[in-house]
């Protein structure tokens, strides 16, 4: 295909081809990583280092996001609650929305921006400065040494952070309900405990594990597939966060149908 061609059909064609090549790249990467799991060939210390790093880096941002989100949920529900005079339902509404949808999605988006983008930037820098090639010449497999620990760490960490964020979001919601709507914390807690089942939290956490895979795979793929120096690194990060966000919403849609 002529890269100078700028007509609409050519552009559409190029977009479809690049989408297909990225989807294929992610699938191939997932396959190659899966092969290294049986028998497990994984750098243990590197896994711990990544878990620690990602956790420490994300705790503040996830905490702030979750608290604010809880507050926003209550404000948005407030109109409905007032309209129907149903204070008892606030715990149910906020709890259900947070645990099932809003918590996992927003925390995953923030995690993608913080950890996923950073992962792409790091891997992309290593790729453009030929450090990945250097690893290979030293007979170190970049996939088991670099990528697999990061993928596992991201999935585990997003799961843990979602639990932490869910709790903070509910606290934020309870506080906001009290401050803005005059719904006491006890009423909120009652409404929450009576209606929310373990399954509601479980679906959210299943989703967040899924989002973890999406973020890990797409951020690693775009990091390794980078071309073209410092501007290339910026482009790779951009592409990776966009792909992760799209992936998160598509997976969420599918998961919502399957996990009623």
């Amino acid at each position: 295909m002529n890269p100078e061609e700028t007509g609409l059909p050519a552009q559409t064609g190029r977009a479809v081809l690049s989408l297909a090549s990225d989807l294929g790249g992610v699938a191939v990467l997932a396959g190659r990583l899966a092969r290294r799991l049986v028998p497990p060939r994984l750098d243990g210390p590197e896994l711990w280092r990544n878990l620690h790093r990602m956790g420490v880096r994300s705790l503040p941002i996830v905490g702030v996001t979750a608290l604010f989100t809880g507050g926003i949920m209550v404000i948005q529900a407030g109109v409905l609650i007032r309209r129907f005079g149903a204070e008892g339902l606030l715990g149910w509404g906020a709890g259900f929305a947070t645990l099932r949808e809003v918590g996992p999605i927003l925390i995953a988006l923030m995690f993608s921006g913080r950890v996923g983008a950073n992962n792409t930037a790091e891997l992309a820098t290593m790729t453009v400065t030929e450090q990945i090639d250097a690893l290979e010449t030293l007979a170190i497999d970049p996939l088991s040494y670099l990528i697999l620990p990061r993928v596992i760490a991201m999935v585990v960490m997003l799961f843990v952070l979602t639990v932490y964020g869910d709790v903070l979001a509910l606290l934020g919601a309870a506080f906001m309900g009290d401050a803005l709507l005059g719904v006491s914390t006890a009423t909120f807690a009652n409404g929450f405990l009576e209606t929310i089942r373990v399954w509601d939290m479980a679906t959210g956490l299943i989703k967040s594990s899924l989002f973890g895979f999406v973020i890990a795979l797409s951020s690693s793929h775009f990091g390794l597939a980078v071309t073209g120096g410092a501007p290339g690194v910026g482009r790779a990060v951009n592409a990776s966060v966009v792909a992760s966000a799209t992936g998160i919403f598509v997976c969420d849609y599918v998961a919502t149908y399957l996990l009623k």
């Binding site: 404000i75 948005q76 409905l80 988006l109 921006g113 983008a117 930037a121 501007p231 910026g234």
Partner: protein, 266 residues
Amino acid sequence: MTAELDPMERPHGPAEAAARRALADARELQGVFLRTLYWTFRGRRESGEVMRQCFEVGYRSAFFLSVTMGFIGMILVFQSGLQLLRVVPDLTLLGATFLELLVRDLGPTIAAMMLATRVGAGIAAEIGSMVVTEQVDALRMCGVDPVDHLVVPRFIASMVMTTALVVFSGLVSFAAGGATAWFVFDVQPLTYVNFSLLDRGDLITGVLKCLAYGAAVPIVSGWCGLTTRGGSEGVGSATTSAVVNSSLAVIMLDLVISGVGFVVFA
């Protein structure tokens, strides 16, 4: 090494260091914000530049936003439909409630989170690589404030295009939700499209949010790009912090505007 002691070298704890850094960041961000406003009204614009940025922001994000917002519409209508059926067997207000929520909060906020990702990362990457290749310093040597030349066109374009994209992707989201309501819960489109719950307060809050997010994303990301240090690693971390900081700015503004809107209009 020379023998002189550096007078700036004073020992201080990690908490103090973090507080100093936060304060310095806040002052820099405020500087970028004020200079953006100043140059928006005082600067001389090359006429094509704002249009080019509008195209960059709009054209490159429209597809991405429609996909994500479309999915959001389907997911939310599906979830809330299921929940409503548990409480009341009547789904006639499903569309009206969703529309109200979409206009007042979800449309602007989710779309702006996506734009923070798409546009914010792009702005920081572009400006950041100009910083590390010293092009920004060269601009300053030629008498150009980088904020005027690089941030302001993106600022104007982002305010305009965020509003336009929120309306467009909100329509996509509403339509996708309508399709879900029709096929899953058998809610007829005529019942679903219902503006009865939409009032002045919802519209004002929604538009305010569009403008505030549209202003915040380029300023925060431009600041992240302009403070880039180092080589390609620096560009990477500037891009990362642009995504995180502009998303955070969106969420904070959301809380503030929603809170004020609730107190004023409800």
